[in-house]
């Protein structure tokens, strides 16, 4: 028997594979394809205080081994999340992490305080990749001081495990990660999508209505792995690796680089069962290599 469980702060996950925010709905959309109780955890779609319609079309486009999206944080809002979505996860034996965002620093505090007393929410992931409306529209997560402030305000509202999801679209991601840690984050997840774009040369139109979008999928994996590795070097709190993970081999690579768990995103669109296949692959890999605890793999890269 291989012990696949890992710990993120006070959270015990039955295995290190979670589904990433925005790629798994509110948790029940893929029930026809997999048993969600087998997952290490589910991170639900980013919610904001009020519902959002999202951006005009086109919102997605395929790129070589990847995709661009500018969905625009379309979500049902906190009220419906609490009344309809969260209750549907009652009695499911897996960890549920609510992902939240706001337009202003204060809104992060409000949304965290709004949901934090829910026993079904095991942890809260803060999405700092969205625009800071009051201060010029740059993403909160591109500035260490603003990131710190968002985390501090959220921390005041909850005792639940707090995970800060970092954006890679910065000069030095370790600086932001350290700011999150110092302000009370229990873990960081790395990374959100990379800014990207594409143009259809026959129509000369951008592939996305909003021109710029977020690149995800296997094409970003080497970047994601490097960012995760860099953060692991400077932080004491656990890191959750995200970006382009498609196979169990990818997951092992991230664990060897030092992350404690991984999230799979785009993979679910291509293969809804893919997250479970990764868990099975991890188990077999550990068995074959005589690894009794997956925790023993973490940070196991051997430098030549």
């Amino acid at each position: 028997m291989v012990d696949l469980s890992v710990k993120i702060g006070s959270l015990r996950l039955k295995n290190p594979v979670l589904t990433a925010s925005g790629t798994f709905g509110y948790g029940r959309d893929y029930d026809e394809y997999l048993d969600i109780a087998q997952l290490g955890g589910i991170v639900t779609k980013t919610i904001t205080l009020n519902p959002r319609e999202g951006n005009p079309m086109p919102r997605i486009a395929e790129t070589p081994a990847g995709m661009l999206n500018s969905i625009g944080l379309s979500n049902v809002g906190a009220d419906r999340y609490l009344s309809d979505k969260l209750p549907a996860l009652k009695n499911v034996d897996t960890v549920v992490i609510a992902n939240v965002a706001g337009d202003t620093i204060e809104e992060y505090g409000e949304i965290v305080s709004r949901i934090q007393d829910q026993s079904r929410i095991d942890g809260i992931e803060i999405n700092v990749s969205c625009p800071n409306v009051k201060q010029g529209g740059l993403a909160f997560g591109t500035n260490p001081d603003i990131t710190a402030e968002v985390v501090r305000i959220s921390r005041l509202e909850t005792e639940k495990p707090l995970i800060v999801k970092l954006t890679p679209n910065v000069t030095d991601i370790t600086e932001i990660a350290l700011a999150a840690q110092e302000s009370g984050a229990d873990a960081v997840s790395c990374m959100n999508t990379l800014v990207g774009m594409g143009i259809d040369i026959s129509t000369r139109k951008p592939l996305l209505h909003h021109i710029l979008g977020g690149l995800s999928g296997p094409s970003i994996k080497p970047v994601a792995l490097a960012k995760a590795y860099q953060i692991v070097q400077v932080l004491d709190i656990p890191v959750i690796g995200i970006g382009g993970i498609m196979t169990w081999e990818d997951a092992v690579e991230f664990l060897l680089a030092g992350v404690t768990a991984v999230q799979v995103g785009t993979l679910s669109f291509v293969d809804p069962y893919g997250s479970i296949a990764i868990i099975e692959g991890l188990r077999l890999y550990c068995q074959k290599n005589g690894i009794s605890k997956v925790e023993n793999l973490i940070g196991g890269m051997i430098q030549s």
Binding site: T23, M57, R59, P64, A65, N69, I71, P218, F269, D271
Partner: protein, 261 residues
């Protein structure tokens, strides 16, 4: 559901339109006209996303589904090179098909380009329900019209429009529709169906503004997940806001669709 299905037949109708048969017992026994399947054209990471295709027809006796597709880019090129015996990974049937429960005697179907794909499955079901059918079919070139004799033999009124003037009316299928509606003000209860490119569907929406029977339209949008999760395939629907083409559609009430511009 994910199915691994064997290709049993594939051939080209024109130099870039193909018909493919797949052994898919579960889909063949449960699909409704207007639903689609979501195909991973090959394993691996490139091309990454699945491709959506309408179910063109069903052959329940052989537990097969039939696709009709145009070679449009990388994914469809890969599909066109596959042979009987090869397998495809597909999800489906997905989406909501046409609503055929409403009472009507006579179906007017407007098909443009590859919009003809779902129309044949629709026609098969309408014939079973003993409906009268008028098919207005528009294509770029006459060679894209197939099964003409079969269609006529089934008692379907068929009018064809070609942009290259090689067959039927020279021009757009929407011309045929305007003409048809101007001549056929009858006491029949009609129901309208439209499948094709967005600009054509938009045009049909304008033309049918003054008629009082129901029209259903099958829409297309770029898709990632195909099941309502990624929120990538939104369409604006009156009173309901953004709906997902993959999950809430691809068939919508034509009058409720809000097109850009």
């Amino acid at each position: 559901m994910i199915h691994i299905c064997e290709i049993t037949e594939q051939h080209s109708i024109t130099n870039n339109i193909y018909r493919m048969r797949l052994k898919a017992p579960m889909i063949a026994s449960s699909a409704k006209p207007g639903q689609f399947i979501h195909i991973k054209v090959r394993t691996g990471i490139d091309p990454l996303l699945r491709r959506p295709f309408s179910i063109h027809r069903i052959d329940p006796g052989n537990e097969e589904i039939i696709l009709l597709y145009r070679k449009a880019g990388r994914g469809t090129s890969i599909l066109s090179q596959m042979s009987p015996g090869d397998s495809l990974d597909l999800m489906g049937p997905l989406g909501q098909g046409f609503d055929l429960q409403t009472s009507f005697d006579h179906a007017i179907i407007v098909a443009g380009g590859m919009g003809s794909a779902p129309v044949f499955f629709l026609i098969d079901e309408l014939l079973k329900a003993k409906k009268k059918i008028t098919l207005l079919w528009g294509v770029r070139a006459g060679e894209e019209i197939f099964n003409e004799n079969e269609i006529r033999k089934q008692g379907i009124e068929l009018k064809v429009a070609t942009e290259d003037a090689s067959k039927g009316h020279c021009g757009f299928v929407t011309d045929l529709l305007s003409e048809y509606l101007s001549k056929n003000i009858t006491k029949n209860t009609y129901s309208g169906f439209v499948c094709g490119p967005e600009c054509m569907i938009h045009e049909v929406q304008k033309i049918v503004e003054s008629v009082d029977f129901r029209w259903q339209a099958s829409l297309e949008a770029r898709m990632a997940c195909g099941v309502g999760v990624c929120l990538g395939c939104a369409v604006l629907i009156r009173e309901r806001g953004f709906q997902m083409v993959c999950k809430d559609g691809p068939v919508f009430d034509l009058r409720e669709v809000q097109f850009n511009g």
